[in-house]
């Protein structure tokens, strides 16, 4: 009799599948990015068929290549910005929790400042200030996603610092850095990793929205936001495939990341790791 895989195995499997799917899309999209820009007016406005599973648009661009390339751009931007954001959050959290009251107040104030401004507005402002384009989008997203994670990490650290084993280490004369390294960091890691992974979907969705609004990449680039905003003009003519496939893939990618984050949390969180 074949044993049903236990929950841990199933989680690991799901984790593996999501990572595989997302990396496949990233790599495939990267390879297709040249093809995604090709315009061929002899094949314009084709509905989905065997040669062009996602159809073609008004300039005869292959929407399958374009969608994958767009998703790949989104994923790569998401990876870059989420990592930067997460590290900013980590540093900010550490500063707030370990460098005394003034640093805590300053960090808290920065967090409130960034969270106080409507997110999309702040994104637009930063990316405009950085001269739009890819650099603007990346800077904008990287600099606006850290506050909530920073706040979480700070609270976690404050709690950890009051834990008996940290207190004892202090009394035994352990150095500050050593305490951070050996006692605080390992406990923080699961929070950090989960936070990092859960930043991805936010970053991707924000990349799509800012390019949708036209503040991001130039319109010949295959970014998902651009694809979706272009498709709007063609919906009235019945070209549903321009919006449906890219939109569905975006949602799919985002939900894959959520699955990934959730499963990672289950595996890393001491509270659920043995369930």
């Amino acid at each position: 009799m074949i044993r049903k895989p236990n929950r841990r195995q199933r989680t690991l499997l799901l984790l593996f599948c999501s990572v595989a799917a997302l990396s496949a899309v990233t790599v495939a999209g990267g390879l297709l990015s040249g093809q995604a820009m090709v315009t061929d007016f002899s094949r314009k406005n084709l509905s989905p068929c065997a040669a062009y599973p996602f159809g073609t648009d008004w300039m005869g661009r292959d929407m399958f290549a374009r969608t994958l390339a767009g998703l790949s751009i989104s994923l790569r931007i998401g990876m870059l910005t989420a990592t930067v954001s997460a590290f900013v959050a980590l540093v900010a959290g550490f500063c707030a929790a370990t460098l005394g009251r003034a640093a805590d107040a300053l960090t808290g104030w920065m967090i409130d400042l960034v969270m106080g401004i409507p997110h999309i507005l702040l994104l637009i402002l930063i990316s405009l200030a950085c001269g739009k384009g890819l650099a603007g989008v990346v800077t904008g997203i990287a600099l606006t996603h850290w506050p909530s994670l920073a706040r979480l990490l700070r609270a976690e650290l404050l709690q950890l610092r009051e834990c008996p084993f940290v207190r004892v280490a202090e009394k035994l004369g352990m150095g500050r850095l050593r305490i951070v390294r050996e006692h605080l960091f390992p406990h923080l890691l699961p929070q950090f990793l989960t936070g990092l992974v859960l930043l991805f979907p936010h970053a991707i969705l924000h990349e799509a929205s800012i390019t949708f609004l036209g503040f991001g990449l130039s319109p010949e680039q295959p970014a998902l936001g651009i694809i979706l905003s272009e498709s709007m003009q063609h919906l009235a003519m019945g070209r549903w495939w321009l919006a449906v496939f890219p939109g569905a893939l975006l949602v799919l990618a985002v939900s894959l990341f959520f699955t990934l984050g959730e499963n990672l949390r289950c595996l890393l969180d001491p509270g659920s790791v043995h369930e």
Binding site: T39, D40, F41, K44, N45, W58, M59, K132, G214, S218, P219, E220, E230, M232, Q233, H234, L235, A236, M237
Partner: protein, 497 residues
């Protein structure tokens, strides 16, 4: 009828603030003008009954009819005309009236325009300036409640939605057939859906909708001079001074052979099929079919000739298929304004066609905030086409005080000379000839045998869904701008059972 949302006059129906004039010229309808442009774009009369210009071009005398009345019952006199022109000169945000010194009324029916410099095409300016009532003009309210002597009265204006015009019962000319005209402002897709739902009698549309069918409607295509073309910076970098660090000039397109090769190496008909679904005409100049157009601008598609030009000029094909000469790669961006899908597609098709010539032209979308600066060193997809030869001047003439044309680096003293002479000439017929000489005089100019500082590609047909039975009167060639031009003669439209 449905028009695009950008057609709604932001500042209202006040000629001082751009109603009828500016980039998208059209007849002001609510007001009368002194002259009108006919179907052949020659000058006819509206309020004027005679006009004359002095030998040196510094004085224009216009006689006006004496039976015109404003919609509030007051008589329209020469002093209203003088008041209008002086007000426009003082306050207009759109019209450039530097050539007018002042206007003066002599008696009730004679106006004298004292010019500060000769301006032979003044009648074309007079065709777009609506006459204001001196007794009832208040700049703060006139735009919302215009009083005019034109064919229609403004009945109602719901900002952002619609304008309702009603025939002026006191109009001095032929009474309008169409008694009531409602104009809705909506986006392309909304206009299409409105036609599909049968809610409008006429809706503007674009070539991308042309393969759709709307039952009960015909697709009407109007020929235009609404052209699209690319500037080809005609000087090397460093020849003209840079301002604020913006590069001026291009190492590739400054080679005359490259510009000539592009002009004959692009298949305009293919472009029209690809981008405009066939709804367009090839463009060879900024002013095709206007009275001041020089037919010498026309070129035939000659891909072999284009390749030969490049080979002879020393542009050798490199290993990657891109030509090279003296270490310069035949490579540049072709820019287009973001959000304009037609120009984006034109840039893409242009780029595809240039590949065959061994020229790498990478399309890139730019916002209008940077487009003007970028165009000084790289080709940009422009749209022009106006009912005045001034456009030739704006594009090809060196800027006042500068040595190069404003939009794209170019300078030719003969071209400048002809256009200056055209403006100074005392008769329109003579001026037309000089405008044509500026394009090509047999030795120099801006055509294929000349300098080709711009390459013109297509004139975009203006497309409309027209309800069956609506007889739209014959249109004059539309200028740039897909809005009010169609209603220029709405008073002559009719319904057929």
């Amino acid at each position: 009828m449905a028009m695009g949302p950008t057609s709604e006059p932001e500042a209202g129906f006040d000629p001082v603030y751009g109603w009828g004039a500016g980039e998208h010229v059209h007849e002001p309808l609510i007001q009368s003008t002194l002259t009108v442009t006919g179907k052949d774009l020659k000058i006819g009369y509206d309020l004027a009954v005679a006009m004359d210009t002095s030998e040196d071009g510094m004085l224009w005398t216009v006689e006006i009819r004496d039976d015109a009345r404003f919609s509030d019952g007051e008589k329209l006199t020469a002093s209203d005309v003088a008041f209008t022109y002086n007000t426009v000169k003082a306050g207009s945000s759109v019209n450039d009236f530097t050539m007018l010194d002042h206007a003066e009324a002599i008696g009730d029916t004679t106006v004298k325009f004292h010019m500060s410099e000769p301006f032979s095409i003044w009648p074309y300016t007079m065709a777009v300036v609506g006459i204001l009532p001196e007794h009832a003009y208040d700049p703060s309210t006139y735009g919302q409640n215009p009083i005019g002597s034109g064919r229609y009265l403004l009945k109602q204006w719901d900002r952002g939605q619609q304008v309702v015009l009603e025939a002026n019962p006191d109009y001095y000319g032929e009474p309008p057939h169409m008694k009531r005209v409602t104009i809705l402002f909506m986006e392309e897709d909304a206009a299409f859906l409105a036609a599909k739902a049968g809610q409008v009698d006429l809706a503007y549309t674009a070539a991308s909708y042309a393969d759709q069918a709307v039952s009960g409607y015909q697709l009407m295509a109007v020929e235009t001079v609404d052209n699209r073309g690319f500037n080809l910076p005609a000087e090397r970098p460093g020849v003209f001074p840079e301002e604020n660090g913006v590069p001026v000039g291009s190492a590739v397109t400054s080679d005359l052979a490259v510009r000539r090769a592009i002009n004959i190496g692009v298949d305009r008909q293919e472009m029209i099929e690809n981008v405009l679904n066939g709804y367009g005409t090839p463009a060879y100049s900024v002013c095709d079919r206007m009275p001041w157009y020089n037919p010498a601008s026309e070129v035939a598609y000659d891909p072999d000739g284009a390749l030969r030009l490049l080979d002879d000029a020393g542009w050798a094909v490199g290993t990657d298929g891109v030509r090279e000469k003296d270490g310069v790669r035949a490579s540049f961006h072709v820019l287009y304004p973001t959000g304009d899908s037609v120009r984006q597609a034109l840039a893409a098709d242009f780029s595809n066609q240039l590949v065959k010539l061994g020229i790498e032209a990478v399309p890139e979308g730019v916002g209008w905030d940077t487009a003007y600066d970028r165009a000084l060193s790289e080709p940009l997809a422009w749209g022009w086409g106006a009912h005045t030869p001034m456009e030739l001047y704006n594009i090809y003439h060196s800027s006042p005080g500068g040595s190069s044309a404003v939009y794209s680096p170019y300078y030719n003293s003969m071209v400048d000379h002809y256009m200056d002479a055209a403006l100074a000439s005392s008769s329109l017929e003579e001026a037309y000839k000089l405008w044509q000489n500026a394009q090509w005089d047999g030795e120099t100019g801006v055509t294929q045998q000349g300098d080709v500082p711009w390459v013109w590609l297509v004139n975009i047909d203006h497309l409309y869904w027209v309800r069956d039975g609506l007889q739209v009167a014959e249109q004059k060639i539309h200028p740039h701008g897909h809005g009010w031009s169609i209603v220029n003669n709405v008073d002559q439209w009719s319904w057929q059972d």
